[in-house]
């Protein structure tokens, strides 16, 4: 049971990311053109004179020569539940209270700023929100389609089964990224963020149905022959009832495992497409498009904090990895 400790980072990360509007100190698209590529701001407890202050504070950054220096003449204490830009965590429910912030003109960019002076932390959180919601929705699509088609193939059998499984073969025979590209090629190049997002979800769903449908089909095939299913049929149960009551519950385990594997894979797919400029684009943040700026050598070589989206990506991937190994462990314990 101590193994379930591994779920804490996963849940925590998701809370952090889904509540991005609240946790992020700034609007992800708000620019501060005077401070492009400002390095991360450090919170201090001791001021320049060495005096201790109980409330952490930051200094404003001012451009100087090629880089930036901290203006130590004025302290800006970190405040909690400040009022900043408006956001909506759930559409329609607008709010402007942020977890933390500092008074203007100082800015608390603890992960630095990008080329337009936008706060990297805010962009990482909002970008991860886009990526994770895309991953979750796409997984939902793929699993719904996969389970429906797999159940159909396994339960009905015959020609239906042959056609569906041949189609699954075809979808699994294309390297998925190429298929993703072919589907993407079928869509207009310049599309607004919302449409791009929904299309991405649909595309990933279309590409990902084949493997879950195969696995579900296998389970349905074996479940169909179980004695209690045969008994239920002997007592005159309708096919739909048998399916709902006896066959589908058998597939839940596989479907859940597939979900744990598919979500990070789809998040990565979204990141890849956006990285190549084919997904969610400027000015909206997405982990992929943020990493895309690293393709410029001067950004890659000079501004290490621009790797922040990569750190977030690895954290999310590791959390899901822990989830699946936790699932394996539990399956082993149950089996033994």
């Amino acid at each position: 049971m101590t193994r379930s400790i591994w779920l804490i980072p996963l849940v925590g990360l998701h809370l952090l990311i889904l509540l991005a509007g609240f946790v992020a100190p700034y609007d992800p698209t708000a620019q501060a053109r005077t401070i492009p590529f400002a390095p991360p701001v450090r919170p201090h407890l001791f001021d320049a004179a060495g005096t201790f202050h109980l409330r952490p504070f930051v200094y404003a950054v001012v451009p100087s020569g090629d880089g930036y220096v901290a203006d130590t003449s004025h302290r800006y204490p970190i405040r909690f539940f400040t009022r900043e830009s408006r956001y909506a965590i759930v559409p329609g429910l607008e709010n402007d209270i942020h977890l933390f912030g500092v008074d203007a003109p100082a800015r608390i960019s603890i992960f630095g700023t990008d080329g337009y002076g936008r706060d990297v932390l805010s962009r990482v959180l909002h970008g991860a929100r886009v990526s994770i919601i895309a991953g979750l929705l796409a997984t939902l699509c793929a699993l719904l389609a996969g389970t429906a088609l797999g159940t159909l193939a396994g339960f009905v059998g015959g020609a239906t089964d042959k056609v569906i499984m041949r189609a699954a073969d075809v979808f699994m025979a294309v390297p998925w990224i190429y298929l993703l590209f072919a589907v993407r090629a079928a869509l207009p190049l310049q599309i607004d963020t919302r449409a791009a997002f929904l299309l991405l979800v649909a595309v990933l769903g279309i590409v990902g149905w084949a493997r879950p449908s195969r696995l579900v089909r296998g389970i349905v095939l074996s479940a169909k022959e179980r004695t209690y299913v045969l008994a239920a049929e002997g007592f005159g149960a309708q096919p739909l009832y048998v399916l709902r009551r006896h066959v589908l519950p058998q597939t839940y385990g596989v479907v859940l495992t597939q979900a744990g594997l598919l979500v990070p894979q789809f998040i990565l797919a979204e990141v890849t497409l956006s990285f190549l400029g084919l997904g969610v684009g400027e000015p909206d943040a997405s982990l992929g498009s943020m990493l895309g700026t690293l393709q410029q050598y001067h950004v890659l070589a000079s501004y290490w904090w621009m790797f922040a989206p990569a750190v977030m990506l690895v954290l999310v991937a590791a959390a899901y990895h822990a989830l699946t190994s936790f699932g394996h462990e539990r399956a082993r314990l149950v089996a033994s």
């Binding site: 075809v170 072919a182 090629a185 190549l276 890659l300």
Partner: protein, 319 residues
């Protein structure tokens, strides 16, 4: 023989169906290559229509599919609208470049992973095994994209490796040996990125199936007969563990193709990846189709070879 023919027929069918699928998807695209020219004030209205007519875009989708298939059969793979030339030669050159990268990466990965995996399985639960398992878990969580970017950063910072392309400028005038060395230094980073991406997956599989084989009755019986060391590993453990690994090798082709697509773009290696992205942005449909088809053929051939190898190696499959 029946098995071989069956697998072959199945593969051909899959390739044909994939060609139809990708053609239909690209066909469904709302935009086309000539859209940009239509809004270009320098191009007269009728000119674009004439170009469209000459490119055969006014024919029905079905007849265009068959025109394209005939062209594929001739090795031309249709006409690139952006390059105004048959796609074939362009594709061959890019495919060769991709293979120059992926084939050595595949070989190196397996040559490293099999001995390492077997060694780790033999020393299961010791500290070396723990360290390696931790390392492979970490590598697994790192996306290929990130590995490529970090390697690129290393190249930029140290200046030891070139940061893109296949040859240095002016490499044509060098001697053959110098050219080869130039190529090798350019290939080093994308090669490392590919190997680092694939290695953890393969090592974990080798270790897992080797552990399963070590626990199998056949190996324990061999051990009881006093067989141990390399002889046990090579003659008893490896053949028993080979089955899932051969299937994995087939799947590796797909993983490598997907990974190299991205890594080629990041490291500006002139392979299929950058070509695909360029032509996708230009809506140059025949290039997109050709690149997807080549990738599919590699994948299907990889799986076919793996299936046939299984047939040869594993008597249980033949029965």
């Amino acid at each position: 023989m029946r098995f071989v023919l069956g697998r072959l027929g199945h593969s051909v069918l899959v390739v044909v169906l994939v060609s139809m699928l990708t053609f239909a998807l690209v066909e469904a695209a709302p935009g086309e290559f000539f859209d940009d020219l239509r809004v270009d004030a320098r191009v007269a209205r009728g000119t674009v229509d004439a170009w469209r007519e000459r490119a055969g875009l006014n024919a029905s989708p079905v007849s265009r599919y068959f025109t394209w298939i005939q062209s594929v059969a001739r090795g031309e793979f249709g006409v690139s609208l952006a390059h105004r030339a048959p796609v074939g030669p362009l594709l061959w050159q890019r495919t060769r470049n991709t293979l120059l990268l992926t084939a050595p990466a595949m070989a190196a990965t397996w040559l490293l992973a099999v001995p390492l995996g077997l060694w780790l399985a033999a020393r299961r639960s010791r500290w070396t095994d723990r360290i390696f398992t931790g390392a492979t878990s970490t590598l697994l969580a790192l996306p290929d994209l990130l590995i490529a970017l970090v390697l690129l950063l290393v190249a930029l910072r140290t200046g030891l490796f070139p940061t893109g392309g296949m040859y240095s400028p002016g490499a044509e005038s060098l001697s053959a040996a110098a050219r080869l060395r130039d190529l090798a230094t350019h290939a080093a980073l994308p090669f490392c990125a590919l190997v680092l991406g694939l290695l953890p997956v393969v090592i974990r599989h080798v270790r897992a199936s080797a552990i399963e084989a070590i626990d199998a009755p056949a190996v324990r019986a061999a051990r009881a007969h006093g067989i141990n060391g390399p002889r046990l590993t090579l003659h008893y453990v490896l053949p028993l563990a080979a089955n899932p690994l051969i299937s994995l090798a087939g799947l590796c082709v797909a993983m490598l193709l997907s990974a190299s697509l991205l890594i080629e773009v990041v490291m500006s290696w002139p392979g299929l990846g950058p070509l695909l992205v360029e032509s996708l942005l230009a809506k140059d449909v025949h290039v997109v189709l050709g690149a997807s088809m080549i990738a599919t053929v590699f994948l299907v051939v990889g799986n076919l070879v793996a299936d046939l190898a299984l047939f040869v190696v594993d008597p249980r499959v033949r029965a």
